[in-house]
Symmetry: C2
Subunit: 176 residues, 2 copies
DNA sequence: AATTTTATGTCAGCCTTGTTGACATATCTC
DNA sequence: GAGATATGTCAACAAGGCTGACATAAAATT
């Protein structure tokens, strides 16, 4: 299709060229940088988790429970997108080792409201700080607006149907 | 500690306040957005890989081999940071199913130079385009400089000792 | 009050993908 | 020829996903 329909050709030739290139040429740089960045980003916590006999799955659970005291099982499953059997395996260990506490719901007594114990909060904070250090180092050389651009980019990588949910989780229900 | 030691208080109150906040307050937003974005970013390829009986491990191998024809086993191990046994399991399958070809090195006949077959390139490209679509969608609303800021950010998240190596891999040996 | 739905827990077994350790082979280097 | 290097392979194990089936308590519905 080298010869476009005349009506389309003169209209915005640069943009259509751009579009063609983008359609043909994968964004290898961002794909690969994302892979390498994530690989190293999760490697910091790994070392510490090892000392506790925990893995990444435990980290994810502990993180979200610590961040949102009173989180229910159903909400956690929705965040992690794993099965309840997978969740239960690591959650049970976190409870047994006293990093998370499971309380029966008050309004709905079928629910379990999850809370991090002081020990749990300590570990979660320790790991979050480790990752924060890496983030701050990466941000240190950047312009002030960069952080906003990066947040926006990451948010828009998320499935559109889940974006509002994530916004809610990350920035809180207050911030519209 | 509401009352600071007088000697410290007057000295750069804004900056020290900033630093304190950063030291105390984890970057929960970027930590969590990174998690959710990565979760969805890898989910696109997963669906297609399933049809071929492949998993994420196969994807990673195929991607880098397709991107760098003639890649050796040692180089691939260095990129993926897994053991040769883990690599061999998936590589063997990719070769058996004719997505990758292993040629004996010419200069050093001990080496295996890996190449994607036409079928392999097709699949790799198909997956890369899927991910590119998501990336472009996320970038579409952003300022033109945003892409540069994001690349820079991701690059700086990578371990400093590996950064030059990754730069080399992603942007090519030519670009300094 | 009886029934159905919902939230959670649990058992059993399977798959992928990572790990370690040991050992084999071909080839290159000294 | 001896030793180092690049790769392949066998066996066993662990983490963390998955499915399917079934159990229980509490809420919701009829």
């Amino acid at each position: 299709m080298p010869d476009a329909i005349p009506a389309f050709k003169p209209q915005a030739p640069e943009q259509s060229l751009d579009k063609d290139i983008l359609a043909e040429m994968p964004a290898y740089d961002l794909i690969e940088l994302f892979f390498f960045a994530y690989r190293d980003f999760v490697s910091d916590p790994d070392r510490i988790l090892d000392e506790y006999g925990f893995g990444r799955a435990h980290h994810r659970v502990l993180h979200f429970v610590s961040r949102q005291p009173g989180l229910t099982i159903a909400e956690l499953l929705d965040i992690l997108r794993i099965t309840k059997q997978s969740l239960n395996r690591v959650l049970k260990e976190l409870i047994e080792k006293n990093f998370i506490e499971s309380r029966t719901g008050t309004a709905d007594r079928r629910q379990r409201l999850l809370h991090a114990t002081p020990q749990g909060h300590d570990l979660a904070l320790k790991l979050a700080k480790l990752q924060t250090r890496r983030i701050m180092r990466a941000l240190s050389g950047a312009e002030p607006q960069a952080k906003e651009a990066i947040s926006q980019y990451l948010l828009c990588l998320i499935d559109p149907d889940d974006r509002e949910h994530v916004k809610h989780l990350v920035f809180g229900p207050d911030k519209t």
